[in-house]
Symmetry: D2
């Protein structure tokens, strides 16, 4: 599995009464992402409100996503669990339904030591044969994995073959590149760092932006591949105001609101205590979208 | 409900196979805390690995704790949930089984706005008639509630009558005191701040320390009540090395290890990915305990 | 030299054209502090705009302060210099004019290693026979000295006999107490921490507050000495709004403005780029002063 | 003045007794930088120990640098002063001796408000007719200027025409680009960010690296200009270990040690309390230099 390009994150739409995922709307959302040139689909990430779903709901979303994508591109299933046991349940399920990889992020209540983190990944990897992408995002998970730890796990656990770095700190990508002699592919998970991460050698960009920005993310990747730095820069600065806005506003809320503005049915707002975008946020989104994609 | 003194946190022991709470050992642990002069019992806090239990396990521990305490002192049930819905389920259950209060901490995956936090507490308070203690501990929950927000919720939601402040920042306690004109009782949740928080007017100290330090925490509180600052200071500096150690090592791990050293049965280690204390940690604990409580 | 109580910081008034220190006004300011019960005078601290004076001006202020105090209480001269050489010049001058001690803070442009900091103090101590107070205030100096380093220097350099801790972190005071077995006297340099630092065993409080709050700081110290925690708490919460205000607004600006409101002549505003308090700040100061000291 | 490319920072060598700048060695150092393709020379920056020099020494270094460069490339004189008055003295001197621009960084003891910072720049700009480069480096100066403030000053003070951003935060460069509609040229002052800053549109790279790495910095710039991202990436990762080392070790110490290893006479070690590189640091430098520039 040699993944490059845009790894896209669907939302998880809910049915009218908010009690369960709306699988039809989910399918529609995934198809939109495929039309926008995405190279892989990652349901049940942060954007997909994975942390707010029951296990049964999580299973439904995972299974339906694999069915909808139907092998067009790889499907990477997100797993973020406090206990090792529950993470293993999800990993096994992902394998059973035919997912191509799992993206795993440990979650903290109590801070985890490096040994505990290592144990978490080892225990999961021992139960499945899927490739594992380490996902580092201390801002949401409370767990911060250093480049040193990440590369050590890459060296010690064969199934770990990719890392998604979402701290927004480019020096961590440099360090991963150096410590692994360029052997561990890293993916950018911080939207406002997309240009620089790709210039620094990221294999791809994990992002919910194709939900709202169409082909722009894919085109940024292509410009970099083609060595056209000037076009890449123009593309990036065009996208940047929206990228910054959806990150600072919270992805589930802003992406659902943005899709609604574009006429896509997204179902209920994010799960409480998360709230829907307010009028001012919707107005800003609307202005940014018109500015970036005029007609 | 006018709570003062030491609010003690039991551990959650697990049965041999690690699959469920060991209710007998839990009862024994609670009795130990009552013998050590504690003024309230708070099961299912951070020390009690609340975040790592299934809902059914959480229910068992809550119910059994209320039964064991049997009205001797108030029981305050800890609730830390990502979704408002699940927090409400737990709050209702706490009320049904006869708990005296609930201690509620919002948990973040996505950062919560002040309005979202407020909505979370309002929704819970609307469903039960128990007193609610706001619990602020950004280091574990990822949610940081400012003194301004806390006092605003105290003014607007009648059931909120107490706040446990665990940031370790004494200026926040000053601010809560000032903003509420001294009307909102605050409790210290940062062990190494116990002396100063009580000097600054904290109504009590929420702590797992009585598990290991016997009557010392209660005596510290009594010295302050009696205005004997010199004795309080001596007591505190005596306790401090252990307080610092259990906080930096993680409470479930270090408290379980310390209880075991004292001959108390604690069952299995904390839930994975958390691990048991290692040899070096046990040696340090042993040395500290002997030094503080010589015979 | 066994210093306890309130160590007070005068301002440095400037003459009408702003070109030099106004020594008459300085004398008047020092007398005011002595009337307010202060136990030591520390000219040329942060409040005294030491960093903004030429060497000649610094010398004038130091010499005149010693003359005005005239042995009533100890005079501690502040030294904050980037180069070791210039710090030594000042230390020698302080000794020549009969100061009782020097309070020394290293200043960074380039971050200093622990060895460099140690070398700085050793080189200064080698040139004078005065007692040296270590002054730790990373917020102004850019140099952060850990409790471990401070106690190590205390053990290794005989002239170091005191430490002023201004980080506002009570845990550092605990650590200094523990690491030095209570042998290194520590003084609180963070105004909003005064109550707790004294409760935790601080020998004194280094503060500019007696400029504006009269006997209140001294009375706080006396309440703690007498073990009257209730009176101490009331005194502290009364002072606190002003203490917080002068710290967040910057001491030279707010203390000069506050003294002017009280009818004390303070000469020109602080040296540029520092500015005078604006109208809103003066209004707040006026309100706070009336509230705390009504008539 | 349309400056692009590599803006190089000489060291300030000292004479044998350490009491004054060694102007011959300085000249030699500047010539080396010119041979290494640098597009401008910036004496008296952080690398040049500007903060540790007396005014007279600063004047000597400034004047001699202008003479040695002799119009080959622009000379940008660094000014970092606590008081506005002293900054003005230096600015005037720079103009008198024929410097091409000044690079000005406010230094804090007391934190400066945005208005105070603005006043500082305005007062300096009013006294000279040279172009002014804003230099933002909170790690050394203690003053943090937001992109908003920087662009506001650029709009309001005509002489401000460039900004050197040294925080290492690429998002600040994005913001400066966006807020100024691309009109304010920004220069990268964080060595380990060089690749990404140039990709994001930086006009140049302010660096001491050409002292040790010869033409490599200039070649990185040329690769980016030519749109050869692959070559740029290889060049950058080759340089990076040394860039990281000199930044974390402190530039005056490591650059002087590295030059000495290359056989360049650098005079005395940095001014105390700064120290010379120790044996281990020299060994690491030696290894890195051999690895990067083999023969």
């Amino acid at each position: 599995m040699k993944l490059t390009g845009i790894i896209a994150y669907p939302i998880t739409p809910f049915t009218k009464d908010g009690t369960q995922p709306d699988l039809n709307k989910l399918a529609h959302n995934i198809e939109l992402l495929l039309q926008n040139g995405c190279d892989a689909i990652a349901p049940l990430g942060s954007t997909g409100e994975s942390a707010y779903l029951s296990f049964a709901e999580w299973q439904q979303v995972a299974q339906h996503s694999v069915q909808v994508v139907a092998g067009c591109v790889p499907v990477i299933i997100g797993i973020s669990e406090l206990t090792t046991e529950q993470a293993i349940h999800k990993a096994r399920f992902a394998e059973e339904i035919g997912a191509d990889a799992i993206m795993v992020i440990p979650v903290s209540y109590w801070k985890l030591t490096d040994d505990e983190i290592c144990g978490y990944y080892k225990a999961i990897a021992a139960e499945v044969s899927l490739p594992v992408m380490i996902y580092n995002n201390p801002a949401t998970s409370g767990v911060d994995m250093s480049p040193e730890l990440i590369v050590k796990m890459f060296r010690g656990i064969p199934q770990i073959t990719m890392v998604k770095e979402s701290t927004g700190d480019i020096q961590r990508m440099h360090k991963i590149h150096q410590l692994s002699s360029g052997e561990l592919p890293f993916y950018n998970g911080s939207n406002p760092l997309a240009l620089e991460a790709l210039c620094a050698g990221a294999s791809g960009w994990c992002t919910a932006a194709p939900n709202l920005l169409g082909m722009l993310p894919k085109e940024l990747f292509s410009h970099i591949q083609a060595g056209d730095l000037q076009a890449a820069k123009e593309n990036f600065y065009r996208q940047l105001p929206l990228l910054s806005f959806i990150v600072s506003g919270g992805l589930p809320k802003t992406v659902k609101a943005g899709l609604a503005l574009k006429g896509v049915e997204v179902g209920q707002p994010p799960r409480k205590p998360l709230t829907a975008a307010n009028e001012q946020e919707i107005a800003t989104l609307s202005r940014l979208l018109k500015q970036i994609l005029p007609e």
